[in-house]
Symmetry: C2
Subunit: 284 residues, 2 copies
């Protein structure tokens, strides 16, 4: 069985087979809650969370967008530390933080818990992934002035993302890249999109597109600017990618995945550039 630590805010680490949620928890019945996920890596014998400050900040933004109480940073950090201390895995793992509106028919307040789970091996994906585009159904400006559509919110309502991953399997590809109804590449179901072109790094604009801000792309772009490489936001079409220097799907957990093929078209792939970008985000 996959190794796992489970911990509950206000309660601490619990046995992993502990049932924790009531049948009417709104995170369960409505997907009415948010989460965030970060990579846990063992460095110098100690498990550490990559870019925890940024993940906690995004978690707080998701909670605010859902009008949930702001996560108490000190309590979460203490719980994370307790869970890391209980973590005995040696490979890469996923820290997942979850906050929901809580049980619908009681006054017990929000549900707040975390899990640390051994990560699936991403070695192969880090060498290159083949992708297919799927329409996300929205125009690229659909989320402008429509906060109820929860654009950019890492909510628990991820059924479409999961369905898209099933569609990837059906199409015989590794990854999906969602497109807008007006034909732009947006993001993957659990990845952001990074493009190298014209000696710059590019990612999808957030405003209007509903795209989730990628913590790892943020780290990569900060590192690029520190190296003097300009960074910009732009919407690309699938047809644009063969003329670029490369594209990557970026995940906090799986890392920087070179998109070597999209809808059957080979894309430029520079392994040295990939390795450099991945290293700036802490991936080897």
């Amino acid at each position: 069985m996959t190794e796992q630590v489970v911990a509950v805010l206000g309660r601490g680490v619990v046995p992993r087979d502990t049932a924790l949620l009531l049948a009417d928890d709104l995170g369960f019945t409505r997907g009415d809650g948010c989460f965030d996920a970060a990579r846990v890596v063992v460095r110098d014998g100690t498990p550490r969370v990559d870019h925890l400050d940024r993940h906690l900040a995004r978690f707080a933004r998701s909670a605010a967008a859902l009008e949930l109480p702001a996560p108490d940073q000190d309590s979460w950090r203490a719980l994370i530390n307790e869970a890391l201390a209980a973590w005995t895995g040696t490979g890469e793992a996923v820290l997942k933080l979850v906050l929901t509106r809580g049980p619908e028919h009681s006054t017990s307040g929000t549900t707040a818990l975390l899990t640390i789970t051994a990560a699936a091996d991403a070695t192969s994906a880090r060498q290159g992934v083949r992708g297919a585009t799927l329409s996300r159904g929205y125009a690229s400006d659909a989320f402008r002035d429509a906060p109820w559509l929860l654009g950019g919110v890492k909510s628990l309502s991820y059924a479409i993302n999961v369905a898209a991953k099933r569609e990837a399997v059906r199409r015989g590809v590794d990854e999906i890249v969602f497109t807008s109804s007006d034909g732009y590449l947006l993001e993957g179901p659990t990845t952001g999109l990074l493009v190298a072109a014209d000696d710059q790094l590019w990612t999808t604009p957030l405003a209007g597109t509903g795209v989730l801000e990628s913590v790892t792309i943020g780290v990569i772009l900060d590192a690029a600017r520190a190296e003097g490489v300009p960074t910009q936001e732009a919407l690309f079409r699938a047809d644009d990618l063969p003329g670029t220097d490369g594209a990557w799907l970026v995940s906090a957990i799986r890392g920087v995945l070179p998109l070597v093929e999209l809808d059957g078209v080979r894309l430029p792939h520079n392994p040295q550039l990939s390795a450099h970008i991945a290293a700036t985000a802490g991936f080897r």
Copy 2:
């Protein structure tokens, strides 16, 4: 505390404060599951479920769209009967059936449970509701040939529906009517749309729109046809409604709610027609 019965498939009725779900249940972490909800009413001293066959059939269609195992009808019916026998409420109640893909990191299979919970009083809403339109962000044909968008699937990923209800409160109205990006009325976050015009009854087409099939509208349209009233599907704009004989937001739980105002515009309302339509679906 709101009266509630909780029951688990394969286990039966459990105390309502029983924690049932693991932290990594995919229904919880991904909204990766489906539900259905029907009204429970006490008739002749016995609690009964309205239109249970239709709700079970829709539940099975939702499960199929999510590629979940087909719900075993006999087991669910037995569990529902056990829960009804334990139900001591005398007013209207909600039966909710939930099926998820189960815990991500164990082999225990799907999670399947139900709740019966006392319903909020819908007396006032049945007299008339004021609505506001909100964009759902999708064009009215966005779901055509895009099954991964889960159009018409009653999934657990309902965070946008919940956010829309918060927006209704903020706008000082009772109900939201979602519109397509091309300006058509679709449905409410938890209601379907019914319109009377030209001596016919109309509802939103399902194909392409992503609209959930309403069990209660299905019952109403069947009754109308039996009375010789033609029924049709059509897309209406908000501007069309003042020229009709009336519009209703229809819920299996709350009933047939006359939409007496939309975006501040008064709409035609014939209380006798409303009462007749409501009665055909079992609402008084």
